[in-house]
Symmetry: C2
Subunit: 309 residues, 2 copies
């Protein structure tokens, strides 16, 4: 990705570098590398480039997300929107998208371009749905699932599929890696939505309670609304609609004592189990132990939330 920076027009390469040189978790490139793993010392240039493509697409979406969320800080640094202004950030995100696709177009066939451009469209569609349904309390569980599938699981899925394809593994494993990525992505997003209610800010390293404040209906919140008495429900709805904010401590306590956090954890574990399950027929693949380890790491993170069962 540092090499890519040089290919931007000189007038904006510094801005591109600012966006690409982050301290993110690099989860999606990790998925590409792990799914494409063929053993110690065998890391093809193609795998590196494809991992870069996926991460650049992801970083471009973050640049645009931060404009919409009016976010000023991400990972202890000013967001691009805060640093260069929201107008320049819209265009900068576009330039990052374009460059990601340009790298994809350096491959000998159009497959990577097809996969990545379609996934990008799906990610954006998921985010549009979420944006348009802010503060809408009538979202169904199926709609929530669909939104997180598009906005998060899609890029996890395609990362795993691309890695497996590039490793030369057969269609069977590529399909399994694809399904693994999908389930891991769903699990990860539900985990992220739960953390926003029951995490500890210091441990997690970001501001919590933002979904309720910004009117984003997520699984924990949907379950909470379903279960609390009417009066309390009305208070939460008012908070969701931008009225009197609800303290994080209050919602955190309710999530725990009503068993909602435990139910959300079960939903995450179900996805992780499904992710593990699809890899079962492919235990001979060198990629599989690495992918399973990622699932186990997420499981450990969930456990660390100390949800009351």
């Amino acid at each position: 990705m540092r090499g890519q920076v040089e290919l931007f027009e000189p007038e904006i390469s510094g801005m591109a570098a600012y966006c690409l040189d982050t301290t993110g978790k690099r989860l999606r490139p990790t998925l590409v590398f792990f799914s494409g793993w063929q053993g110690e010392g065998v890391v093809s240039d193609d795998l590196v480039r494809a991992a870069g493509v996926v991460e650049m697409v992801h970083l471009a979406t973050l640049v645009h997300d931060d404009i919409m969320d009016r976010a000023e800080i991400r990972r202890n640094r000013r967001t691009a929107s805060r640093e260069f202004g929201p107008d320049a950030a819209v265009l900068l995100g576009d330039a990052l998208f374009s460059q990601a696709l340009n790298v994809a177009a350096q491959f000998p066939t159009t497959e990577l371009c097809r996969l990545v451009s379609e996934s990008t469209r799906r990610v954006c569609s998921g985010e549009i749905m979420q944006t348009l349904r802010r503060r809408d309390i009538n979202i169904t569980l199926a709609e929530y699932r669909r939104m997180i599938d598009l906005k998060t699981a899609e890029l996890f899925r395609v990362s795993c599929f691309i890695g497996a394809r590039l490793s030369g593994a057969g269609a069977g494993f590529a399909q399994a890696a694809d399904r693994f990525g999908h389930h891991l992505g769903i699990a990860y997003q539900i985990y992220d939505d739960l953390v926003d209610f029951v995490g500890e800010e210091q441990r997690i390293g970001k501001t919590l309670g933002t979904d309720l404040a910004t009117g984003k209906l997520t699984l924990p919140l949907m379950l909470l609304l379903e279960r609390v008495p009417d009066a309390e429900r009305n208070t939460i709805i008012a908070a969701l609609r931008g009225g009197q904010p609800l303290g994080l401590a209050a919602s955190q306590q309710r999530m725990q004592e009503m068993g909602i956090a435990a139910e959300v954890v079960r939903a995450i574990d179900d996805e992780l189990a499904a992710a593990t399950h699809v890899l079962a027929p492919h235990h001979g693949q060198p990629a599989v132990p690495l992918l399973l380890q990622l699932g186990a790491m997420l499981h450990a993170q969930v456990s660390a939330l100390q949800v009351t069962r």
Copy 2:
């Protein structure tokens, strides 16, 4: 493009249709068709799809431009930003970009993806430069040229190149078409910048005088600042910096009486002459008469401005 609408996620295909179904001039697809012209009745599917790709990229940039310009109306209709909100419009533009690249990736080779993704990045870079330098009176002529080359001429250029490539014409003609598109694009943007000062609103069909109001330094304005006496210069600079606005009538009169409009017309004509010139060695190509006609049309539009010589 109507067919493409069906391929978006059903939840957002109506929004995509809204953006794609415009009454624009369709200049860029015309360039693809004209450059790729092989004679009556020979219009390949590839040419149609490539023209669609270029227009979708252009429409995506308009969706984002209208967010930045806080534009409410474009072509007698609400902008996407006004219709769906700026946040959804950011993502919708992204989805249009992605789908354009996805169509490009359906071609047998990666060439179209490479060309279009690189051009898109360059267009965005040009727009970033322009955005960051709003209200900056120290822009040089070379910088202005560079910005309009990237933000406008780039997509004209690549449209012509793609058309010529798809027609199977040799590298010599593809290169000439490329240069033709570049010069036509520069001429078109300078014309557009001039119209903003000396056009008649009713004839042109859009609000004029917006570049000065939004602090966008263009060739006519740069020349005006160079030539007027100090006191007048300070008034214009104050207007550019967002102070007391300058009446369109006043600047229009000065453009004419100081011979600035005439000089800008000469700059446009020089580009049109260069565009014609590069096609001279290729008069045997069926595309050439059509391309020359486009140049002549722009020349006629410029003449219709009735600039005092």
